[in-house]
Symmetry: C2
Subunit: 316 residues, 2 copies
């Protein structure tokens, strides 16, 4: 079985850290990223797509990798001026980052669908992989919390994911369909990867797009998921908290169970090796690797492991 | 007759230069500016109101007075990044200036009408006069030119007002009405001023708002216009070119004739003193002053002249 081309379901930073390894072991042109847009929001008139931007910035080599969002070396002059005229300034807009939002918003206003604008941005920033939004439709991830009914960004950025979450839900699903190119990418793929992203709010919105889960179920035999948890903790963000809110076991086994109808390969961290037998027992072919992905070498290793996992002879 | 309160019909820089004198001889709180919005445009998803911004920035003391637009000391980081991803970057967006556009666009998107947003911006930037748009409706000044049918900003900024203009016209007038507060300001005014702005594309759009001309005709006896021309030339911009395109005599007398049904006082430049008798002959009370307005003293002098013109005993 050829691993090419590859389709990757992706959230933000976790996926981006993984993808910078993947593009080093496969021709970037053969990779299609299907990105979460549930976190997108309108902010002071601009359409912001944080996960798509994160993936594009990392693959373009301009990401602020230590901060985890925005453009490296960016300035915040507009942001500071905005904070002088409104309290509504909790979502940080870097000056260079603003150019991305301006371009995207202007094109959307001109009637260009999100998948085309995303492709234009990726191309103009020098990204050779194909970056697709999960849908051109406006799907919004919302959370019912102790602090009220919040947009994901309100919960994550404004409230620093402190409120207890009671429910995650989505608006806009009814009218939505996968973006043009998504179905073709999954069908043509020799390998589908579920990036080490938050299952509840990065991967789940992608799966919720009408038609998507059925397509991915049909692709189960060629799909490998990478666990976003290490020793029961997230590298960054509220992965554990949100899995708990959903009643999912917040560890690698819980994630593996969650993806059971979608994937046959599973990569988990060495810290979770004790869970490997249980994950294998529910039908996965597994690999155990250090998955912190905090440098390119580690990302390349995990990517290589994921790419080869289903190509190796099955264990006895 | 008391000159207070005062209503001022205003375009961009010419009006702003005049207003910085007016606010020094009258309590700023007693001044209502009725600003042109025909030059407004959507630009990369943001709603830009160049004339309102110019007036606000000048009165707030943050304008780049030598450049004539934007904020003093602004940086252009977002602009430079935008120019890397699109050719559509001829309209310059300063980083601090962007905060104004972001705030305005966000509020408009939230359903707040333009006159309220304008008031909020002016207040938050410390402007004590009331700044109103001529209308909350979207009225667009367009020009038929040798280079095609252009938005005013395309003609003015992108094409550097080089194309020959055949016709000026407006879209959006049918549904428009004066912004809330405009009629009250004109009615309550002891004095209405027509700022030294381009008659064709700064003042005319205001007059075209349905209902506006009739109100201003009724206010004729308390209205003073200040000529935007000096020796038959504009201080800045295509005033002469556009008057010619309209078949209007491109000098102080032509402007006076144009405002004949709207004003009884007229301030013209010393360079145009030879036209004074002709302007007086068509029914104006006139004053002749240096009107370059290139410093605060000159602006204060012209403002004072305009404010007192109709209060003085009529000449024999």
């Amino acid at each position: 079985m050829s691993a090419r081309p590859v389709a990757v379901l992706a959230g933000g930073v976790g996926a981006a850290r993984f993808l910078r390894g993947l593009v080093r072991i496969l021709p970037p042109e053969e990779i299609t990223v299907i990105g979460n847009t549930g976190d997108d929001m309108w902010w002071h008139g601009l359409y912001i797509a944080p996960d798509l931007d994160t993936v594009i910035y990392w693959l373009a080599g301009v990401a602020d990798e230590s901060r985890g969002w925005g453009v490296r070396g960016d300035t915040f002059t507009a942001q500071a001026a905005l904070a002088m005229i409104t309290d509504r300034s909790w979502f940080q807009l870097g000056d260079r980052d603003l150019a991305t939002h301006l371009y995207r918003t202007g094109r959307l206003a001109a009637g260009v669908p999100l998948h085309r604008v995303t492709g234009e941005l990726a191309e103009r920033l020098g990204v050779r992989s194909r970056i697709l939004p999960m849908s051109d439709a406006r799907i919004e991830t919302r959370l019912k919390t102790d602090a009220g009914d919040l947009h994901f960004q309100e919960y994550f950025v404004r409230e620093h994911w402190r409120p207890a979450v009671h429910e995650i839900y989505w608006t806009g699903l009814d009218e939505a369909s996968p973006a043009p190119g998504v179905a073709e990418a999954i069908e043509a793929a020799g390998l589908v990867l579920i990036a080490p992203s938050n299952p509840s709010i990065s991967i789940e919105p992608i799966l919720r797009v009408p038609g998507m889960r059925a397509m991915l179920r049909a692709a189960r035999g060629k799909t490998v998921a990478i666990s976003p948890l290490i020793g029961g903790r997230a590298v960054k963000g509220p992965t554990v908290e949100l899995l708990r809110a959903e009643g999912v076991r917040p560890d690698a086994l819980g994630v593996a169970e969650r993806y059971q109808d979608l994937a046959t390969g599973f990569v988990l961290d060495t810290a979770d090796a004790a869970l490997a037998p249980s994950i294998a027992a529910i039908g996965y072919r597994i690999a155990v690797r250090p998955t912190m992905l905090d440098d390119v070498e580690s990302a390349r290793d995990v990517a290589s492991t994921a790419v080869n996992l289903l190509r190796e002879p099955a264990a006895a």
